[in-house]
Symmetry: C4
Subunit: 124 residues, 4 copies
């Protein structure tokens, strides 16, 4: 099977909320990245977290086995230090083999009826 | 009309939930892919499902007629084997002619107020 | 200002629902495309609608003035014929000048707690 | 670290609603852009807002420090003039260094059960 994806990924709209109304741990609020490694090699990814008012933090290191998916809660990134709750953050991820990365959020802590996010269109 | 789209598509954020509160079958929880084939030929697509803790499964084979749309419930993929419920999965799809593929989800089983997902930005 | 965007756009996950609970016409269910024309020329776009079980319909013709935005309800496309309600559809749009197109949906007719859609990742 | 992202970004599906039911200012309705600058230089971005029935407005100028994230409420763009509420708008953003931009919305003013938006697929 072909190697599918890219080596470098990023998103800018992250935020892990404090409050949560869902059943633990399944429905509590979270930010997650889902990494798909279709290749025959282990993917070694390096994650860097960027904030508004302080220095970026990294390198968080995660492995995704060959031909496997892995979902990673941003809440679970604690080494070299835990990602700050209730702070806006961005994320840059690089991999040694091509992977496909999707960012998702579940927010159960308040009654906003609809929240949506989309990457803007990169025009060059 | 031009052939619009790409031959290879993937997403990493799949999960078919067990529980559902909606009217059956219209509003029960599902993951779907919608495949648009604007070309004058039948599109023959091959779908591969990737999991966290077991080998990938495939090939699921589906045809989309010339100049037609087709929505495919991931729940309905049962040959060579049914896609596991309540398990995270990723998906790689290849086609013999260019197609456009969108992934969508309806989740009716719990009261999270908002869930959103977006592809991260592929930066290389 | 630079011309921003592309000439050809498509999406596959369309569906205009019958039922609606919102205040008319502001909050009734709809599918919309928003077309941004940053160029100094009028954009003349041609829209083609694709279905699951019948021939595609087109050409729907729409103009977007120079340096203007235009939101177009798919419900309002009636010439050469109205887009079918409660049917899955896909859409291909071509323009004579580069434009940026976003597809959005408001669904007020039932109590699904969350619906999300995203383009899959085009990997070639 | 590599410079990640693009110089030019756009989206077409903007709308800042009048009404809001959430706690102020955290949960009131808003449109936001989140800009990630992974580079070692200050990013100077220029924002242009496009409307349906009037001339575009700009240049709104914003800086994002080196290796920082910045979330910008569209509501807070007031110089050279405030962005109109309850009007559809599009947005073009250019930067002097590569950045990654995500557009997000929270809508707390009415009871639509689900709103989703996605960029269409740019096919050329």
């Amino acid at each position: 099977m072909r190697k599918i994806g890219k080596l470098d990924w990023a998103f800018s709209g992250g935020r892990i909320p404090f409050e949560s109304t869902g059943e633990e741990p399944k429905f509590n609020s979270h930010d997650k990245i889902a990494v798909l490694n279709t290749s025959g090699e282990t993917a070694e990814i390096e994650i860097f977290i960027f904030y508004e008012g302080r220095e970026p933090v990294g390198t968080f290191e995660v492995e995704i086995k060959a031909q496997r998916l892995r979902k990673i809660r941003i809440n679970d990134l604690i080494d070299p230090e835990a990602v700050r709750l209730d702070r806006n953050y961005g994320c840059y991820i690089r991999s040694n083999v091509p992977v496909v990365i999707q960012f998702s959020r579940m927010h159960t802590g308040q009654n906003a009826n609809a929240i949506m996010g989309t990457m803007a269109f990169p025009a060059d």
